[in-house]
Symmetry: D2
């Protein structure tokens, strides 16, 4: 951490500030230039805000962090890639798994039909929304507990582990038999929920928030890991920009960078990022090529009648065709499915 | 709602689509151009997604909404401005109230000292964080229930109604004696929490999310109102952009536009928007001039030692000076404090 | 400038890097922590990129600038506010001038009618586009040289100095009698043009680019000033964000911050920022309150028939009404018009 | 184009508006709902702004475009992919070419060394900056005419066609022997320059602006094409977002979407998008996989001493290694290099 002091700071003020910093447990390195004095802080700065430091003393002009604030998720301290085991499905370095299923669970018939089909096409996990975050209170909100029950039926039929989103920690008991709990983009900084999820041992699929930086994304993973649960799978799903032709802007550079910064697995959701069916296949290919460890793709038996997000869902034939292509490419990359 | 059809849609396909739309309860108006056919939907489209319509039928190229999806919050249907009464403090058209206090409640001494001082300076509500959303799990997270207890002590001493943030609905019982429950920017789309808050009658101060549009902001208010609670105060606090010199980019045009679109009161938080103490006064003046119904300003007895957000907090003297200025300006605007 | 070195940098590598930095004219301050070594650069770093420093040596992990790269525009080195004199109209601290006129000059009758009316209402400069930057090649592109001739006619009639936009430096001769040359948002980083404008002595009204930071804005002013022309007026006109209800997002915090960072005058264009007529008045009031030195407002004798930007133009009556209000407020602020 | 009328529009007002629209050459389709009347415009709306329509008449609430405003660039009207021929190097569908070279031409020795090496590695065009857009007037600005002369020397030595950026149309004569003229991101909406470039027949490499939408990008191509030059190569190079870890956010969904919307070739510049050397290889692989027609990659014989953008340049060995990988992948995709 580097503190830049105001232009005319008096020597005794600087001394006083340094003593304050020492009392907080830091060593200091003071460098006096012609126009500017700067103080370097040496010690564990992960527990202190730059804001707090600026506020410490009126002579501080600003503070800049020079080491990453994430520890448990940091590849520097854990060079080996984490592979999360979901009932035998390995998510992480060397593997490439595809999670698929409908935006919403709508009926037993629907979810079982989709599950059987995507399994046959090569998906190894089943997704389906039981609790649905919708912008409008007047839109379909999901089947809730009944949705989870139907997902478990589909799991019984196909053996596919299931992934579904939690929207409020009070419903955690309903997720007892769920294999992967998803935290949606809008809840990436629902810190109370992250803390609770840190207490369980289940794999957590954490989606990047619409306007969250890569660092904030890792800090949210850190919340879960700090609680004792290191089974975190990161999911890039697009960020919000000025562009309106696509639903969001998929940030594949973030995927490549995350693979360097953290040991956690990273998957990509091209369906929500693009919001347009015809972009799902090219973005899936790009995600694999950029180094992602897997995909999460919306598929539906009848997208035209889907209760949500139909415009971005593949029908089951399209999904099958895409998987033929993906399978070839995964082999080319030397990864296993 | 307008549906644009694909270039070579056959007549029977168009007819089939129209029938489907009629079965959903809409009337249709079909317009056939040289290159393009469009269908106008007539009826209540607030309960349907554009996505769903695109997915309805493969001949639909895209769908555009032409009427606002918010109803309860819409000024068109409720032309008269809502004034929210908080224990006698009136928030809304014709009034201008200033909410102030520290980012975090830190101790009884601190919160009482701040409360007395800001009251004397002219603030009419006291804010203070008991549950603090922090990017890092290693940062100070607030005093929780004890923080609320201390706020209530400060209320007893000063008579100021209190505003404090809820981060998880499971803690709702702790807010029984709180006067205004704040929903933070990160929880603006925590829909399960909004639904629960719709069931109580307490005033809710709803902050705009960092990357949420004005329409989404109003839809979140709509969640609360749809549950039966129309005591919603909107709070603009800056959106996230590429600019890094300020913490966020305060969107004062949104305030002026919200005042036209909705009957709900709108207040502005210049402290979190700017993140820099020296910008709080000019942005407060601008917020009043643009038509806001109030302000929420961070103040602290000793910003240098604040446990969070010290860099943007005013000390109690600065706050007093600002309020002298604000009082003059409120008189100039013909509003009451 | 602070260089952070990679974790396992060898002592001789660090020594070599330090020598390289000394050869570039910097003094260095090396600070060795448990996990990290950092080097502080002392000297004039305004002429060096952070990128260049990262590239200097493979042991450099990253570089952060700690002093502002702008010099001529920096208030630290020129504490007194610059007041730009435009034929006797003083733009800068203590004054508040309103520039008004149509988006495009359309005819002699139109521009003279508008000029007379806005002068009567209190505007002190006349704006009008002769060269129009339009997204589509099929839209009206302006009257070019003829447009400037008509502006000069209007100046002759009313005495109002004129402001008009240059789009290509090859047309500079046409601007000989123009009082203020405007550089539009899309040309804020047209560096070759900025350099040429630095060679003349005419006042330049420089608009902030749609996606340019405050620092980049000041660096573009620096381009003009480095050429010897210090008559630069900055104009905030909104930045591009995810919000679609307004044309752009007006950044009034940038105005307050610019007034602190630079001695140059800052004006605000609420018309282009909002793109909606009904927001022009509230944003004008807010701009004055936040500390701007003036406004630039689109007005038109018949907005319904304007060849561009009609939706955001005030008609001449609306402009007159707004100016009555503004005049009162300028008096309240203790400024002169 | 769809016009939405205000709630209480009188019948005679609607009639008057319709007549006005007919006089502008449109047919109209009027649809009257319970709360709202809308008018559909039928005819060529590419030459009219939505803004202009809103301004037409006070009863218009807003206007929405429903057909794309680009014509010459539109794949709907030109289904066959355009392949731009650059001295025998074919850029477009079925091919994958890599353009490489240094950010700046620095010396004859440097550019010839780089040119020979990248050619050997498989690049088929040489890039190098002679005119450099730099944020700071104090940074190195390029060798200008001498830079182009050195590029032509390198071309003579290697046979590689050359690509270099134009920053001001007044220098066009210097580009007589240049094979591809690059328009940089900051000049994407320098419309006067685009018009001039439309008059020559040389291939133009048009980079997407930092904050420009896909539609605006295509409209800038349309400017060049409307002038008669259809040799336009689009280049995605990242857009500006709130993320600060990468220089920009590479928008690969835009590449996939552009391939659907337009017949023009699309290449990707991963170097400028990421700004970080270690991301160039994964983003290059992703660009190929998403469907791009080529790459533009910065390479330098000694990145540590590069006069600009060293941090993102590959050294010549890294570039060779990347090209071995790319060559395999191009074969896998069934494309030719």
């Amino acid at each position: 951490m580097i503190l830049r002091l105001k232009a005319n700071s008096a020597e005794n003020e600087i001394k006083e500030l340094a003593e304050r910093l020492h009392s907080l447990g830091f060593r200091t390195n003071i460098s006096t230039g012609a126009h500017q004095t700067i103080i370097g802080l040496i010690g564990d700065t992960s527990k202190i805000d730059t804001d707090t430091l600026v506020a410490l003393n009126p002579i501080v002009e600003d503070a800049k962090r020079i080491s990453e604030p994430f520890k448990a998720a940091n590849r520097k301290f854990h060079p080996e890639s984490t592979v999360v085991d979901v009932n035998g499905v390995k998510i992480g370095e060397g593997w490439f798994h595809v999670i698929s299923g409908p935006c919403s669970v709508e009926s037993e018939e629907q979810i079982i039909k989709v599950a059987k089909s995507v399994k046959e096409s090569g998906a190894t996990l089943l997704r389906g929304g039981a609790f649905k975050p919708r912008t409008s209170p007047y839109s379909f909100q999901g089947l809730h507990g009944e949705g989870i029950r139907l997902l478990l039926e589909a799991k019984k039929e196909t053996g596919l582990p299931i992934v579904t989103e939690i929207m409020d920690i009070s419903t955690i008991d309903l997720f007892e038999d769920v294999d992967v709990i998803q935290v949606g983009a809008r809840n990436m900084q629902n810190f109370e929920m992250l803390k609770e999820l840190g207490k369980c041992k289940k794999p957590i699929l954490l989606k990047r928030g619409l306007a969250n930086t890569i660092e904030e994304f890792l800090m949210s993973a850190e919340y879960i890991m700090a609680g004792g649960n290191s089974n975190v799978i990161l999911c890039e799903r697009g960020v919000r920009t000025f562009e309106t032709m696509t639903r969001n802007t998929l940030d594949l550079a973030a995927v490549a960078l995350l693979k360097q910064l953290t040991h956690l697995p990273v998957v990509v959701d091209p369906s929500h990022a693009a919001g347009i069916r015809s972009l799902v296949a090219p973005l899936s290919r790009a995600a694999l090529a950029v180094g992602a460890d897997g995909l999460m793709i919306e598929s539906h038996n009848d997208p035209a009648k889907a209760l949500c997000d139909g415009a971005q869902s593949l029908d089951l034939d399209m999904f099958r065709d895409l998987m033929v292509d993906i399978r070839n490419r995964v082999a080319f990359e030397g990864k296993k499915m």
